[in-house]
Amino acid sequence: MSFINYASREINCKIVYYGPGLCGKTTNLQFIYQKTAPEAKGKMISLATETERTLFFDFLPLSLGEIRGFKTRFHLYTVPGQVFYDASRKLILKGVDGVVFVADSQEERIDANIESLENLRINLKEQGYDLDNLPYIIQYNKRDLPDVMTIEELHRELNPTNVPEFEACATTGEGVFETLKAVAKLILVDLKKGK
């Protein structure tokens, strides 16, 4: 649910990075944080365990600039990927405007990807959303690793609805901003339609 404030001339939107444990959601946000000019970003918050696993969420506020005199702000969230944190994942999806599904390209993680994607669909439904009606894109992460599936295989397994998809290596930042731009653009186009 975007928030339009005519008084302060601001538009706020919420983007959620979803995906299986250790797929690189937090790494995406960390890279964005590192590479964004200080005036365009707020503090990044990570609610993580002592072993740096996301416990509740990561949060990164970004200010992209103005459109027609309105400041556009994006709030980036990640969910905890580990299966048993499902209750927390549901909470983060509340009021989402756009979703990035971060898939782990490694062969041994394909089942985890499929399970997480199904979980995303179910959890969205519980909140009254339909993934097919939301601004939604997929990122195939960890393309630099040796045992990765081909893009064609991943597409077949994870992207039957043909949403925009991007290859990435979040540790080096490859594809990270392309992914963010694509989802932000979809959200703005959606807003333009006045949904």
């Binding site: 005519y6 459109i67 709030h75 549901k90 983060i92 909140q127 653009k185 333009k192 949904k195």
Partner: protein, 163 residues
Amino acid sequence: MSNPTLVMYDEEFQEVNDVIGRLLTEANAKVIFLVDKNGQLISGVGETDRFDTTSLASLTAGNIAATGGLAKLIGEKEFSILFHEGEKDNLHISIVGGRVILVVLFDARSSLGLVRLRVKKSSEELSAIFAKLKKKSEEREKRGSSDFPFAEITDDDIDNLFS
């Protein structure tokens, strides 16, 4: 889609600020924030410059969401008031009209009793404003005169954001 956009207009924004401004004085608080349940800051009064308001808003909403989850697990609808006590500063967090979160930060110059009392009164006023706001957006939508500032943006406008 159950995804109505929250829209805030100048008139209601002023009303909201008047209410929380008065609450700030009456409750002898340091800072007061209004946050929507998704973590977006709606407004703030008092010593707002001293705090990272964006982070506060996001964490408050996360806090309310997590306690709401707990409430459901034990068969409650929600916990409408949360209170966090610190060594110097305290946070009183409450849900207003089921849709927005009112955060009052206060220290020893005030007391929990006073804050609770004043918050109760202000909550009713705020509920009324947000109900009015909702009605206003719905009416505008019905009339089809959705005055979205985004209705006229072009692809170029969007691309320019990322240049």
